[in-house]
Symmetry: C2
Subunit: 363 residues, 2 copies
DNA sequence: CTGTTAGCGCATTCAT
DNA sequence: ATGAATGCGCTAACAG
């Protein structure tokens, strides 16, 4: 029924071994023989049997890219960049070996699904795995991840982090590209403070994520350095930093609801920082719904600088992360076409983008 | 080195076949035996060898989801929904068989990459393939696709279209879910016409895509029905429909540039329709940059109703496509857990969402 | 319900 | 530079 390598060999009047060699291209074969084999491949519409090949060679051409939310361009941009470095030369044929199949897997932010995908990729004997986005800080999950990644690494799978902090004991990880979320968060808030803002609300991401914590730490470092957190407790003793922070998912709805909550708690807020651009978008909607203008009454800022952020009205002040470059680099590291940074860890800078959504407060 | 099924069998004091049976679960095994085997699996941290399994069974648990642009939520939403129907029960273990590995592949809109990915999936003996988004109308590519899909289908791969028009001879395709792009486009423009607009610019997608053509056909059908295209040639004889249409990629930049071009060509335009929401976003930016207000001076509308569209200012009038539902359904069809619609083809309705970005023209 | 046997299709020794 | 032989780890008959 389905044509095998032996069929190709018969038609080309060579041995199966020779066909295998021309397909894999990693062994000398006479030019005339190769032509004959390739013609036979075309004639028969032969397609390599991946499972058989992987079984015999004990490696596969699968590369997995794990993302938290495939519907979020933050991940889509990184995954797309990684995928184009890894996969598919693009000649449309791919009958021979050598091409990697870069695939993205959507964990939905669920730790169980993250582990399950890793197991599935381990089962496929994946050549490499790229993990994007922040990690969960739950110690149990971290331990499980470390163990799983260790086993993957033992089996020869290359492991690359992209926008994810390195593990404490990361001997399993080939390379970790981590974003300067803390520095970006700090500079963003410093910008607001320099404009004159004193009461700044913060809509954070999910509490247990590294990205959330790092961005928030940057924000608070700036606040504290300006003396805006100390001795600012309200009557009931709640620290200012708690009253001015609301946690939630990284989506616009969370930004909307959290901002309404913030404005209720602290009507004197003159600026709202969203943990990412989507959150900031929701925050903007909430601010406007309260009859407040941006930036005249309330400044709004985000994080990531996704493509839509420059088109909001007013354009969103945010922190730019070079998502495309980071993803591409992660892809090359996964392919082994780029050397890991010294120590296996590289920090990627975040750049403040000042736009129209932030301005000095009134009065 | 790596633990195999035979190791598990030895430890559980059963035959390899029995281990295989409990792992695959599709054969009666005594409860006590199963427990013993599962314990051995856990003790040994055994993970099934996917390639070996696929080779022996002549099927794999891979399911491919092809998208045109992974950074575009339009595709991300569908792919995510499909993936959650297909993959990963979510218990975190996945040591046994049965779980499918749903993976998304980014073609970047390139026909060659589309074919290459299909070949790669064919090589892996994928269980199913979901193709999302519009198709290219180039006859050569269509023929190549039909041939490739035919071979995949012959090999037992289920093929599902999601938001993609059925092929002329689609006996290879298990099911095709297609969006009512034409109807949606027509109703959107009818809405503008009913508001009193007469000169309506249209920023279309790439010229050779089915989605582009269908949406534009809907728009023009509405225009023609209202007598807004006939006898409206300019002095140089260019038909009105050509002067009022600009093609480009499905992104905000194209919307921005095309709209500047439209406003230059036809200063009397009172409404601009974008081929999708991202284009409409760019169009809005261009309109504003010309000192025009939305919707007082120019109405703007989009297509898809992506999550951000409700948050633009003013909120974007658009056509809602049930992307999540469609993706989930495609996932179930790929899994075989839902029966194909009669004739293999289902048309998915598009709903007009009237919001603040459209209003009657001035005067 | 469980064990035995025989490949699945290919990569890779080892020869030549 | 090419051919012959072996085994990768597992599933699927077939017995029992």
């Amino acid at each position: 029924m389905t044509v095998t390598l032996a069929d190709v060999a018969a038609r080309a009047r060579v041995s199966p071994a020779t066909v295998s060699r021309v397909l894999n291209g990693n062994y000398p074969v006479a030019a005339t023989t190769r032509d004959r084999v390739l013609r036979a491949v075309d004639d028969l519409d032969y397609v390599l049997n991946g499972p058989a090949s992987s079984l015999a060679a004990a490696t596969s051409d699968l590369v997995g890219i794990l993302v938290n939310d495939i519907a979020d361009p933050f991940f889509g941009i990184m995954a797309g960049a990684a995928q184009s470095e890894i996969g598919v030369p693009g000649d449309g044929s791919a009958r021979a070996g050598g091409e990697k199949l870069a695939v993205v897997c959507n964990t939905g932010g669920s730790p169980e699904r993250e582990l399950t995908y890793l197991t599935l990729l381990q089962r496929q004997r994946a050549a490499a795995v790229v993990l994007t986005g922040g990690a969960l800080e739950d110690p149990r999950h971290q331990a499980a991840m470390a163990a799983k990644l260790g086993r993957l690494a033992d089996a020869g799978t290359r492991i690359v982090f992209c926008g994810r902090p390195p593990l404490p004991e990361n001997d399993a990880v080939t390379a970790a590209l981590t974003f300067d979320n803390r520095g970006g968060g700090r500079r963003l808030t410093e910008h607001l403070i320099s404009l004159g803002h004193r009461r700044i609300g913060y809509v954070a991401g999910p509490q247990e994520r590294t990205t959330t914590r790092h961005r928030l730490e940057g924000h608070r470092a700036a606040m504290r350095a300006a003396g805006l957190l100390d001795g600012d407790g309200s009557a009931d003793g709640t620290p200012a930093e708690d009253r001015l922070t609301v946690y939630g998912p990284y989506d616009r709805r969370s930004g909307y609801e959290a901002t309404l909550e913030l404005l209720r708690r602290e009507p004197g807020v003159t600026a709202v920082v969203g943990a990412n651009d989507s959150v900031a978008l929701g925050a903007s909607a909430a601010v406007r719904e309260q009859g407040l203008r941006i930036p005249e009454d309330v400044s709004v800022a985000g994080f990531d600088d996704l493509p839509f952020s420059v088109d909001t009205v007013p354009a969103l002040t945010t922190v730019r992360l070079p998502l495309h470059e980071a993803g591409a680099r992660a892809g090359r590291l996964a392919m082994g076409t780029e050397n890991p940074p010294p120590g296996g860890i590289a920090t990627i800078a975040a750049e403040l983008m000042v736009r129209g959504s932030t301005a000095p407060p009134r009065g």
